[in-house]
Amino acid sequence: MKLAALLVSGALAVTSGAALAHHSFAMFDQDNPIELEGTVHEFKFTSPHSFILLRVKDQDGSVTVWNLEAGSPTALSREGWTAKTLKAGDEVRLTVEPLRSGAPGGAWNVNKIKYKDGGPIAVTH
């Protein structure tokens, strides 16, 4: 499985908001985060954790849909997120702690996601 990352970040790992979870997030590689850029296929504002299903174009032009897990709606709502914060078609760029298996999944954090043009995600406070 080719990693569909556009950039591989060598930066120091930061704690994902998803790490404030009721279960272990050690399955995500916090030491080797990657940058992903893609189009939101679906934003699931669900219990126990929220998900972005992100369509990412691989280097060979094919598309992989990544399953990206974040904090609970309770945690995200404290940062001003709602079920409508992201919608299908939004183009975003985010830092992801990928699954250790290399499969297209990972954890993300509200502090590490922006729109593709660099603009902040619009939230409600």
Binding site: A19, A26, M27, P48, S50, N67, S72, L99, R100, P104
Partner: protein
Amino acid sequence: MRNIIGIIALAGALAITIGDAQAFDDSKYPNLKGQWRRADLGGGQRGGLRFDSSKPPGKGQQAPLIPEYQAIFEANLADQAAGGQGTDPTFTCLSPGMPRIMIGYAPMEIVVTPETTYILMEHIHDNRRIHTDGRDWPEEPEPMFAGYSIGKWVDEDGDGRYDVLVVETRNLKNPRSYDASGIPFHEDGKTVVKERIYLDKADPNLLHDEITTFDNALTRPWMVMKNYRRVATDKPIWWREDVCAEGNNHVRIGGENYYLSAEGLLMPAKKNQAPPDLRYFKQSAR
């Protein structure tokens, strides 16, 4: 005559109603109303929310485990580092159980009645009932993740108001761990948890839960202080619904944990993880 009887009966009924209303004098209890959130925000620290908020996660918790269970804990850490869930069982939406419920993953509400103090957890509805009606322990109970809790309100400072809820919890079901790092309990299921729950004397919006755990995997009782802050708001509080099965993407098959893809298909969680055993499926070349 019938009118007189009716009036007497009505007066009697009213007296009973008023009598019942006067039985619960909430001024005798501390004000625990509102929404409480853990004081430990957990941010900026790898390992997330931990049992002892005053210490680093994982081995940093310095859990006083006997050698056998320290070995189990360390094997669990190795499994987690490889992408597994180790001895942390909650990824399949199992209740964290006691005492882990009191980490306070989401806000909580405390409702005090004379017979029962309810701790209502927004997190996957891990609610607790603390019975204060003087009952004895149940005979041969089925263990529960939250256990069975019996408590007693105590007026420690003698001012005529209760200030501490002293609680004991028994009959806890396994599997449980203290937090997401997988610190294990003894498999014998004989954990006992004792708590002292009280408002801070200097700050009535700060709540303390002094939790002491007795377990045969420990070398000694383990005491940890959990703290919560009351949310300051004059607006109505709306509580979230938290149904874990709604969006859980973690799957356990044959003792192994897997992860669901965006399409809802199984993916490996560990590097080079084998697929699950499909012996019950008719398999044909695709």
